[in-house]
Symmetry: D2
Subunit: 332 residues, 4 copies
């Protein structure tokens, strides 16, 4: 039985708590959150106790910490957890600063604990099937990747202020998908990156110095090409697709929809919009992600997404941020 402490009882903390609680051999022991009401409500649902951070780290019986708190707390909690000998599941990102993220990687390594970063898209049934077929050679050698990644609407200004900007906040996932799909088969890596950003959906985002629409192109050392287009607003909902072209064909990952009803009428033939937002779209992914985490803890197999992946995506996000500001490409 693994005893787990969850830091953060917000939206994503509740998801992970629920999925972990349903796993055999896992016990939610503590919930910790500065918002006492959230912590106690979540604790009650799963028969856990509310605890302060220090108490969690002091309790030898805690095997695992799940870091679902705000981004600015991640690196500190990772470091302390490592020092306390706890295994770590941490939501993305490791940290908005690459040096701090690297320091986390070192602390984890020094402590010999296991640490997985929550890039849940790698566990999405559709994306994961595409990755598996690519590995099996079904479309030959990968050549180009086109990622479409659009939110249904922008977050509030306060969120954006603390987010590190659209490349670090939103594209971090897409940049990880780029590495996973286009590079991971043979150790290829980004060699050249060009990014451009615009403010098209909400001037308030521009006043904060951020963009709401971006276009990124990456060329790898082997010459593979990736294009990512993102927007903070799609009137039709959450749009999460990618297409990878290979020498023998293409794998195309479509959106998930709530139902398979198609209505034929005088206006045309109409299917569902995509699942509303990430909690719906990635519901299965979040479940499979924590399953993977505990299976690896059990078996000793390596995680599919490590701190190194978090650091690598962060570096690409930094490069994209710089490129968009300067209008110049970045070479690695």
């Amino acid at each position: 039985m693994k005893n787990v402490a969850v830091f953060g009882a917000g939206r994503i903390g509740r998801i992970h708590a629920s999925n972990m609680a349903a796993l055999p051999g896992v016990k939610l022991k503590y919930i910790s959150d500065p918002m006492a009401h959230y912590a106690s409500e979540l604790a009650q649902t799963y028969g856990a106790q509310v605890a302060a951070i220090d108490d969690v780290f002091a309790d030898k019986s805690v095997d695992v910490v799940a870091i679902c708190s705000s981004t600015d707390t991640h690196s500190d909690l990772i470091t302390r957890a490592a020092q306390a000998g706890k295994h770590i599941f941490c939501e993305k990102p490791v940290d908005l600063s690459v040096p701090r993220a690297v320091a986390c990687a070192e602390a984890v390594k020094a402590a010999g604990v296991a640490c997985m970063i929550g890039f849940q898209r790698r566990f999405d049934p559709t994306f994961n099937e595409a990755s598996a077929r690519l590995t099996q050679g079904e479309i030959g050698n990968p050549e180009m990747l086109v990622i479409t990644s659009r939110d249904p609407g922008a977050p509030p200004a306060d969120y954006i202020k603390a987010s590190g900007g659209i490349f670090r906040d939103m594209l971090i996932h897409d940049l990880d998908v780029f590495r996973w799909i286009l590079c991971s088969g043979d150790g290829d890596e980004a060699a050249w990156l060009s990014a451009s950003g615009s403010v098209l959906t909400d001037p308030a985002i521009g006043l904060l110095g951020d963009y709401d629409s971006t276009a990124v192109t990456i060329r790898t050392r082997k010459g593979r090409l990736c294009q990512i287009n993102t927007s903070r607003r799609a009137a039709y909902g959450y749009d999460q697709r990618f297409e990878v072209l290979g020498s023998k064909g293409m794998l195309q990952c479509g959106n998930h929809t709530p139902t398979e009803v198609v209505q034929w009428d005088a206006n045309g033939i109409r299917g569902d919009k995509p699942e509303n937002f990430f909690l719906q779209r990635y519901a299965a992914a979040y479940r499979l992600e924590v399953t993977h985490f505990f299976e690896c803890l059990q078996s000793g197999q390596p995680f599919k997404t490590t701190v190194a992946d978090g650091v690598a995506a962060q570096k690409l996000a930094d490069a994209a941020t710089e490129s968009a500001k300067t209008g110049k490409a970045v070479e690695f």
Copy 2:
């Protein structure tokens, strides 16, 4: 807290037990199955106890029985449960004999207990959404219904022998869908039914006096038309679709697929086969079905699928069986 006893620890019993156990306010108290090993394994998973049928009925603390045992036990267990004052969730069918099914309905009524029959398709997100839009008038008045219902492969001969034949075993669901979609809006009912059956996939099925492929047409009192086509074998998997034409358009319910990956290559553009069989296709439906059951118990609202629905579908299945044998239509 509702205490539940589950009769039957086979495939469907395990599904319902798992879904019930995950509901707040529901406790699995007993598992009962003549196969002791199955019963104890399932009991252990959910912290329940193994019990004999008599012990279940004798225990006053049991609020609900879930009847997931073999078809020939249903009517007896319903009757005994009603007499013992337990609420009842019973897998379809009520009974292969219409008179016995009617007797069950009477026993339930006399006892004043609640009894729901597990026609899970009414809880499928896709089918349910179509039904809701129909009710909202999105396609006007319904006129025609085409149901395609095909299994990936035939069950073993032993199963078929005890099944009551393809109309009572397999089409019972489709006949319920007919009633739900084409009749339930305004009390319409079947007026004329013509059925035809063939043995096309396996001669062994013919030797048992059954069919593996059928075509049923039903005309309602209001003149609406329904066509159902079924097969015990579809090489591409479990095919569960329907289309309802109305005065203002059509609602088309497609299959569910494991992923949204589409592969483009020299052979064409290829998507997933449908979900493999009913446990996968109706996973959400089974979950929503028992949720509905306990919500209705709590609120006192009527169930969406009652013993009367079970009896009505059974009568249609009997008529189809007769029509296929004689080659003549049946009028109601």
Copy 3:
């Protein structure tokens, strides 16, 4: 160079005239129509002359007559053309009376002329590809056929009065598709037919003694099953699909659409309605059909659709008409 006379300068006559005029080696010599204005307009477009029926038959240089006039003139024109030694392209149906249609077949045979009946669906690229794959064994042995055939709206009452009823007017095409797809591979034939009809879209159709919605089931000698559903009205346009299930899979023929634009917005994801009606849907089929006609005349190869096919479809239409009236199945 083949000299052609076209009887009938209405909608379908203009289509065939246009397609024939575009073929190398074909010359439109005469247009004949009781409506002089139509005849002269069509003649002018293609540099042909207006002629009376007798003059057409008297002109030895006429090689081919294309019969595109009203249904009640078909059998007379076929007979006269045969006697005059002209090859014949005749729109469906041969005649609303089976005996007269049979007499036509005999006249054609006696004269030794070639006669093709215009079942254009056999030349539709989609339907024809499905037929070809079936023949190549891609889905194994055919077992079930489901045909959906719906018009965008009912024709005027005058048309319906002279049409012979929905089974002879509209389903004649679907009954030919049944024979083509389910029977033609190995000489199978209809053994049992049950039809039902309703008046759901327009009471005026009922006053004429006809139906606007029908459901037909046919079982063949080999036990194959076919279900046809039709309506005179689909709010979303002309719906022309079929699905054939075989031992190794299914071939599904979808509608054609004007464009491949898909609009994603707050209401869902919406594609085009089907092509508006038969002139659009079967534009390619009409072109390929007359190409086939003249190629066969040149090569001496048999036509894909003969008078015998016209007679056979007519017999099925008669049986369906009778079955719908009596409520009883017909056996052959």
Copy 4:
């Protein structure tokens, strides 16, 4: 009646000749091609005469010249045609050199003749419908455009040598689509362009100093973003799609397919590959394009695609070529 002379009797010349010959009021008078055999064969098909270039320009009765000859002849023929007072239909590109293309524009203007450039994609029914809906405001203000443009296979080395490189040869169409879809509504223009190219499908292309795979990003003055991905090779055929995101939704243009057959079997659910290559995919576009040309000549309305469009696309292609070579973005 407009008398037309066609320069070039190759693949594209035959297409345009065939489409023009079918138009009322258009007469193919001359075919001119250095390959005498091609010229005479095409002339014979449409009852035209073979003529030398000088003879065409000397004949006062020639109203229109259609320039379908090799790219390096375009500017010279345009200039001579303008001086001879002939109206001009010219295949893309105007010229591989922007200054020469500009000179053509001036010659056309000075002569007061009409000149249309054959960007046939603007006449494709699917693309054109998307453009029309955009203009009608169905998706609000356009923000992002993603173009996927892939050939089924690379042309021979000789072709590539004379092509001006992939950006001028292949992307010229996509760059015109960018201007048409993202700029033409309100006079927006490209402000920043970044391109990257790779050799992934055939090293021989790299030896010629060209690329076979490219990724282009353009930002407009208004901040709109466009991404274009191209490849000389897609194993599944000719891939011609674009998606435009607007403030109220998205318009997605899919490929056209030969048929609407979908095969369901043990391997999945499989539809047709796209139409094989441009002659098939754009068959309707080529027909509508020359129809538009002659309608505008008749009505005096302006063409949808002018020499100025040709020059503008050429400038973008030059910028993309430079950006890919230097790795640096180009600002306009």
